[in-house]
Symmetry: D3
Subunit: 307 residues, 6 copies
Amino acid sequence: MFMRVDRLQTELPAPKKKDPNAAAALQELLGGKYGEMSTLGNYMFQSFNFRSKDKLKPFYHLVASITAEELGHVELVSHGVAMLNNGPDNDGDSKPGGDISKSPMEAMQEIRLAAGFLSNGGGATPVNSNGASWNNDFITTTGNVVTDLLHNFHLECGARLHKLRVYETLSDPTGREVCGYLLVRGSVHAHAYALALKQITGVEIEKMLPTPNINLDKIPECQKYLQEGSHRRLYTFSPSDYDGMAGIWGNGEMALPGDPPGELEVVEGMPEGGKIHQLTGVPSAFTPDYAPEEMFEIATKLYKASR
Amino acid sequence: MFMRVDRLQTELPAPKKKDPNAAAALQELLGGKYGEMSTLGNYMFQSFNFRSKDKLKPFYHLVASITAEELGHVELVSHGVAMLNNGPDNDGDSKPGGDISKSPMEAMQEIRLAAGFLSNGGGATPVNSNGASWNNDFITTTGNVVTDLLHNFHLECGARLHKLRVYETLSDPTGREVCGYLLVRGSVHAHAYALALKQITGVEIEKMLPTPNINLDKIPECQKYLQEGSHRRLYTFSPSDYDGMAGIWGNGEMALPGDPPGELEVVEGMPEGGKIHQLTGVPSAFTPDYAPEEMFEIATKLYKASR
Amino acid sequence: MFMRVDRLQTELPAPKKKDPNAAAALQELLGGKYGEMSTLGNYMFQSFNFRSKDKLKPFYHLVASITAEELGHVELVSHGVAMLNNGPDNDGDSKPGGDISKSPMEAMQEIRLAAGFLSNGGGATPVNSNGASWNNDFITTTGNVVTDLLHNFHLECGARLHKLRVYETLSDPTGREVCGYLLVRGSVHAHAYALALKQITGVEIEKMLPTPNINLDKIPECQKYLQEGSHRRLYTFSPSDYDGMAGIWGNGEMALPGDPPGELEVVEGMPEGGKIHQLTGVPSAFTPDYAPEEMFEIATKLYKASR
Amino acid sequence: MFMRVDRLQTELPAPKKKDPNAAAALQELLGGKYGEMSTLGNYMFQSFNFRSKDKLKPFYHLVASITAEELGHVELVSHGVAMLNNGPDNDGDSKPGGDISKSPMEAMQEIRLAAGFLSNGGGATPVNSNGASWNNDFITTTGNVVTDLLHNFHLECGARLHKLRVYETLSDPTGREVCGYLLVRGSVHAHAYALALKQITGVEIEKMLPTPNINLDKIPECQKYLQEGSHRRLYTFSPSDYDGMAGIWGNGEMALPGDPPGELEVVEGMPEGGKIHQLTGVPSAFTPDYAPEEMFEIATKLYKASR
Amino acid sequence: MFMRVDRLQTELPAPKKKDPNAAAALQELLGGKYGEMSTLGNYMFQSFNFRSKDKLKPFYHLVASITAEELGHVELVSHGVAMLNNGPDNDGDSKPGGDISKSPMEAMQEIRLAAGFLSNGGGATPVNSNGASWNNDFITTTGNVVTDLLHNFHLECGARLHKLRVYETLSDPTGREVCGYLLVRGSVHAHAYALALKQITGVEIEKMLPTPNINLDKIPECQKYLQEGSHRRLYTFSPSDYDGMAGIWGNGEMALPGDPPGELEVVEGMPEGGKIHQLTGVPSAFTPDYAPEEMFEIATKLYKASR
Amino acid sequence: MFMRVDRLQTELPAPKKKDPNAAAALQELLGGKYGEMSTLGNYMFQSFNFRSKDKLKPFYHLVASITAEELGHVELVSHGVAMLNNGPDNDGDSKPGGDISKSPMEAMQEIRLAAGFLSNGGGATPVNSNGASWNNDFITTTGNVVTDLLHNFHLECGARLHKLRVYETLSDPTGREVCGYLLVRGSVHAHAYALALKQITGVEIEKMLPTPNINLDKIPECQKYLQEGSHRRLYTFSPSDYDGMAGIWGNGEMALPGDPPGELEVVEGMPEGGKIHQLTGVPSAFTPDYAPEEMFEIATKLYKASR
């Protein structure tokens, strides 16, 4: 089972401008080959299909708990996409959509993922930066533990490469924060799968890290996360389960050489996270609707009734 | 953010036989048009993309918390699939895979979803009962609240129809339990979206229920859930968020006429759920591997180290 | 614009048994590469996109009118599929669906296209015999007249091959009638596109026919259509348009050597066609619903009101 | 069976400029999730697969006749796409394509759907505004009448939202006319499915309209259609069939509150429609060919022969 | 550039019976996630896109030459598929197809991949064992050498697992020989990519082999290839290029512990290979045609003219 | 079996500027409907699946040897794509990637196929100019020789049209050279399939050429290839096989009327071809890596060891 908490894993700064093509670049980290839907889909189905769960508890716990973190990554990138499509904060939903007969959305014709506006009103969906859908072809769940872990290790390296490239295309703080945070957490996952493989096979595959061959100290947005030690922490993302992975992540293992030094540790629960950004409605785009006032009133009344 | 708990939403009985075609039928409820990946995908992205979240709190809370429940539905169906592919409990992983040169898996040639064995070792993946992948085409997230809620109401009615048909094809208790449980919970979701629509539009759309026109009292596997009142309960699936939906689900609203009577209520947290079934490894299928003993030993040692 | 008439292009005999795998074979003629969705999609979009329509009237009329006939082919194959999935005529919808807890649809687990039952209740959809969807990749509309006509000629030859093979798998009269009728009409279309190409390029490409190298006199189900001269006729499928194609089909051109001799002719309007088969509802499959009596009553009352 | 008439449902003004990105936006209304291929595909297959057609005549007639109208919608949007890709009227096909070695089509590199030029010469195809193909995933045909009608009602609401958004991106009269016309006709369909549902279920679901919450009086391009009463009319799109739907559309039912008042009526046959726009050939793009004169001469001769 | 030689990499024994479901299982090795189309597609595009080819010659040569070998693997599996679909050798094409009106292909309705007969006449195509198409989602070409090599290493491990499972489903010698040969050659590729990674990163990743954890000595069909030392050899598959990979494969490196011992060596050119099996035509399936005699005569005459 | 030679079929001039949208246009010739992946895929699988190979040797040899040439076309277009994405020659990989925190790749947000940079570092992949994947739907392999050859003839005509249109969009010499070369070779293939069809059917279908109706003398980039007689030559692309096709290509057949005159001839082996262009690494894009010096050193050492 899964529970949900109404916070993001990290707080995202408001975007400086409405920038649908930056949002589209970020889509690669959501629905692209190495995007968060892929990491989520892989670990989620691997954890469901895991054989001999009891006998392989530390490995099962690792895959199972990272699944929960990946849900939050999908959420984080999705918020980044929607925020960049929406633009800076405003109070746009406080009045109806006005005159729509003057082509108010003409600019949306020129954006890369026009369907993202036309069908989704600027919301995120599991497609890549070219608009191609994420699907089952991106999932590996063989039931063979070494094959699956090896796949996961390679997936995290590929995902790191993609995050780096997406980061290089972004100038807006919203998207850069998404990348900075995910680069640190993705490094943790690559490291964790490497240690799991090392335990089973004896191969010190963590020495391949970092791949690509660049340290996180080159990315300003990563620094605050490194300084607070995020790169040394795996959360159980659970009230009381999955701590068996401490046999892999911990047990005297240390941070990677290029990162701030220190011992690896499993932390029960989840990080404190940050506030979820308010996405203003855009009545002229019919979100939440063209004339939403009555809806707001109803909602206020219902909310009071629930207190 | 999301948390995970190492339990299923309900406990599944062990299958009586290995039955890959029954598992394939169940796949329709996982990756089919109206499967759990669709309900999850729709509500998850709608909740991320929700505009004016604060002003529309009861509606946002509803979609957000049902998302978390749907994660557990994806998990439940996936376990059903893997269990039916695997067959009755045994201790198969206690010794290596033996002689593989005598076509030990010849029967797998004749099953409907051969790739489910060949690529996934009998694990679940997000495909339908014909092996076609789930994808973004199944997601509606327009940002317009009425359109999205109306979509969700129709989706739950369609999903109910599919569960009924899948149920009719199954004789094994594992798959039938999955259907029985999901029929009750799906009815709750249809009812909830109907009430949300009624609040905004004034249309008593819940009077369309049940669609299809059959009461749950005809399904033996639903009875225990109805008797414990599951059909009257929405869980927040959260430690402390999302209770704002009580303005919609509650507030004097009652169970549907064909179901055991009583008032609707929002319950903080999640149901107790049941134990996750142990999926035995099948060394002859290389799960967790052909000769897994050493892996088991390593895992045991690591687990002890983590205590 | 298009109009619709409540008849099939030819009348289909009732199936002798419920035969979902035969229906699945017929799906290849609906959603397969060379199926009727492909012929429809190609000619429909070519006719919309046709350049210099006035100056090229005979060619435009040819493609435009065959489009209308192909709609009827899609309809015919779809009825064949649904009839074979449904089985012999009966009065099944005169009472509710009964006890559904005894696995009444267990047989549907073993059929090739299980999703056709689970999601579509035995109805036809645009997928091939493996359940893969028809899509835009099957459409050629280049705007270059020779390229498009050449494509169409090849498409009709390929379609003839597929119809022959599907025919060879069928023993039930419903599906065989579909194939027999379509083989005759498909030959007309191949012949027509060949003549159009000959007019533009001077190449006597109709001499490649028949491809594959077998005459229709080998197919018992084709005989009645050949005897009534169907192979020599192109219908305008229009009240008063598209007769300009008579410059291509007609003009002294004769039937192909292996077919009954005679001159080609354009016929205004459409063939008389046959009755549409009543597809009985199956309340246990929730079609039209589990307990449809009230719906029938309402419909009767509404129908009377409309007289 | 279907017939075809060589007219559009409404006449489209010539575009003011060649505008491939506007054409691409319009593609969302053709091959997007809620585009005309989806409405066509859903109603067409539902009408083929309809169970108990005789007993449910008014409902069957409704779905069957709207199918025919949707064919004309697919046609209308396709013409809009091709016209916008082609640009203002001219006599470009009166001479050969000239020197092609000076990159005459360089501008086509920058358009959103480059394949629309490279493969389709500016013609329409069933893809969305991102170039992703329409496919079977967009079709719902469950055989359960309430589920299917409910799906159709939601589909028309979603389609209305998309038409509004596409409209907001367009400044050229061609595309705006397409949207204006379709908004009126789509409202009719949403209203019709609502009334059908009301008859069966008793739920006054038509009170949800309009969704989104904006009246058509805000759209200048809708006014002439509203004034002539198009919003109160359902055509049978048939010479003599399908009038049984008058029990649903009619029978004292009135226009929606925000639209010009009046009673609903079923009209036999189809609207008068407008002229199909001549798409000029572009020899430099090889449509109908690079040097088409001889082809034009042949066509003229053949056309005369057919008189 | 590529050249072709009219031989298979190894000779395949004739099948003992026509076995379309065995052929379908083999399709997983052709168009499945870890099939030969995937290994081919990955290495081919990686070799085209390889950056700094001169400076990284040993690595470029490795990927480039294995590409050529994979072409032969695609060919080998395809022949296996077609042979199993076709059945034992015969002289079926020496007379026409006979009476096709007695449902001679009825058995083809029941096979798993019916489209493989209906559309492809029993030929191989790049789909998996469920009929889903191979596509670009299976290709990784990042341009980052470590990421790509790591991907390739994991791909070969996954491919080995799949070959083992397909092997376990097959009793016919044709398919088993395909698997036996490919298991040996796939092990070579896994080993080679491991050594390449070791050279760059210093990680002895080849110690993960074999994955899955089973030695090839358990597979009778592998023995003759092991005995002739195939597992120690990389061919350049080129008249005179690509021998720079000897710095990686060779250089004192030895066979893997579980295999017959010996030094690794690069061999210029290609293996001797075996005869391509004659696929008999099946005139009743219209291959090469229904009445092929005249075609054979023409071919004979043309062939003589070419001598 | 296939062999590989480290040369391109023709030498490509370096691009004048980095031009990702030109590269994207070229992608249509790689992964589009009529792109080189399609010609390769069709002929490759047709040659594998060819029935009665011995009896139909000239036809089998034709399809088999053109397959090998198409591999080189896929290679050629891929290099064109990668070169245009990469830009003019430089020594960029001689130092590390520098400061990546200043959005050095911001321009990549605006390109049409952003995923081509983000996921593939500017490398080619089998997608079309809209980013949609090539797949099995583009393959025709029916096993019926006339149908397959007719398909191939139409495919080459369609491919010629597409090459012409892509050519018209390109101003950079790299892409234009690709088109010029392929137009000549594609004409050879269209001509060859026409002659094969003529031999079997007696229809002089080669008289349809050229389609579209424009001679290659209008394309400056084709002239050098025409002058060296490339349009009259088919290479066996084999050390000693496939010369049986000389019965079709040769045998007194002459060049097409619009091309430089002369007799057709089969040439054993392959053309001399040209040098493969060095694709410089871009460390700031992590190709071959961010800090590749050590990798270069290792490679140099390994290469020396292999001499």
